[in-house]
Amino acid sequence: MSQTLEALQEDIAAGRLKTDELVLNMGPQHPSTHGVLRLELVLDGEAVVKVIPHLGYLHRCFEKHAEAMTYPQVIPYTDRMDYLAAMNNNHGYALAIERLMGIELPERVEYIRVIMAELQRIASHLVAIGTFGMDIGAFTPFLYCFRDREYILDIFERTCGARLLYNYMWVGGLSHDVHDGFEKDVRDFIKRFRPTIKEVNDLLNYNKIFIERTANIGVLPVDVAVSYGCSGPMLRGSGVDFDLRRDDPYSIYDRFDWQVCVGKGEAGTVGDCWDRHMVRVWEMEQSCNIIEQALETFPPGDITEAIPKRIRPPKGEIYTRVENPRGELGYYVISDGSANPFRVKARGPSFVNLSVIDEISRGHLIADIVAILGSIDIVLGEIDR
Amino acid sequence: MEMTILFYVFAALTVVSAFVVVFARSLIYSAFSLLFTFMGVAGLYVLLSADFIAVAQIMVYIGGILILLVFGVMLTRQATDVEISASTLRIVPASAIVWLTLATLILVFYRTQWTEVRVLPSIEGTTMELGELLMTTYVLPFEVAGILLLVTVMGAALIARRQEVSTDV
């Protein structure tokens, strides 16, 4: 919960705030705010009394752009929302429009989408894990994570030509079929990648210092998480067994056998930073499982057959959500029957997850704020849109 | 010869920085110039062949007391007392008395015929002998000092703790 200045003054008047408290700025240029977030920390000594997030330093007017574009043209902009998980963003948007238009997708498209989405999830989690380690002061795991992420990007690049922002999943299909040797590339990657998980576990996740820094920090109880609408690893870290891929199934996730990872409080309390972090680590393995299963039954086919010539959804509205690496990404699309969407609202998981930071960081030290922020794993592009 | 020069260097360092300590406008300047006073005094100790005491001086005064003083200055700093309020009223009589004392002292020192018994400490340095003295003649004070410090730790911690309880909650 953020507070206005008046509220602060109110607090002072009520004696809750001692006048000699200090306001420290973290960001917008700060190594650990993961971009251009600004946190105003009200400190008492080293302890945090209040965290006041200031957003909008990366407000790029996505929703305005969406209204000015035709339906396919919006897709590159969805890429740029959560730029660490561009595939998943595409996926959600394409899904929304497809549902609005009632398009049935070919099998192969669904398979490719799932594989790509899961690869992207791994890539995104790798960044999250690496930067979290960096926040705690370990630089090396970050580079190991980035190294492996690079292999995923190579696969993406071979398939669709771009490294970061793909514009790959189109309404009704994909921009390209996968490249030759895709299956082998992915298998190779997974083979190469599994040991890295162990390595990062050794180097970082089970390191005593790391555990000390993250266990019992920023505990997010279930009720708060639900009320704040937290989702993804944030919610699962608190022990809630909820994953949209299973509980609100889309695409073909219901065909695969995998597990929803939840925080168990192994190192401290359920819902602390360590749990959130580890949920990501475990999810990477689950993603590998999904990908492997998908590759087993990878069907042939044409990926462009369902792409409509003209994309003009009928008048109507829809809210679809998909499980992004960061949580529930929802698109609320209103169509007025024209070629441009009437309104697109994106409900970004980071936006919602970040709103809880004030609740869970009070009473912690500055160093813990860094840990908490890192464990929320925000992407500013999606928060500010 | 070198001794003479060094003596004047250290003496000057000591006296000048001590002046700054007393007359500096800002408290933090006083505190930091105390650093140089202590260093000068340590230098004088060395010239007096008290090597152990000199090093102890640096360690305790600079490493400990000075830091504590600086922390104290920071802790109690308020927007208003960057400039220290010195009651001007008192300066005149006080300094008059002090300067008078100083003059008297210096006069006395000059007048006194000191019989200089120069006992140069051994080349080995003083630490060994000091240790022996501590372990023999002064063993009781040595232990008492230990107890004293224990009590001080307890006392200081107690005072510091108590006020925390009284104001923080």
Binding site: R158, N167, H179, D202, L204 | -
Partner: protein, 217 residues
Amino acid sequence: MTTYFKDIYDGIATALIGMKVTLGHLFVKNVTIQYPDVKHVLPERVRNRLYVNMDDCIGCDQCAKACPVNCITIETAKALPDEELGETSTGNRKRLWVTQFDIDIAKCCYCGLCVFPCPTYCIFMTESFEFSEYNRDDLIYRFATLTPEEAAEKKANAERFKEEQEAQKKAALEAKKKAEAAKKAAEEEMKEEEGKPPDAGSTPDAGKISDAENKSE
């Protein structure tokens, strides 16, 4: 008490495990690609700087319409009936002079949306990504092959032709009222093909014309 010692033990043990990992990497071959000397092999689908093969461009403006960022500016002038522009390699007949074809590569978001609708496959993404500039204006790529004078001329021609036709039309209108409806429809069709009417206000920047050629090595 046991936790106290266990914590100390864990601290030391896990630190040693970590040290083992990093020490091991000291002897692992590094993955660095030494960029200017060694280059990453780019896959064929790679999406970097756009290139337009002007020989094939029919000036249909499809690419500019598809572009979400509007960074393609195309201006065309209708060719005179007696001018033969030739055919594209895909066999489409060219009917328009492309007087201006600018891509502001600085604005482009490399989405590739412009590539798909092109009927002659003449706009495509190349492998070249190394084109940093000291000056932002150098990032505007002008693909039109005509010199400014030529372009002006073509435009004037088209203008004149249009006027003539208009005049003809008027005359015809007066003369033949019968076929009015049919003729008008035909006329309309013509206009539509013409695309945007040429904007006389903007003339292409002189001296930049051949840049695009020079740059795409």
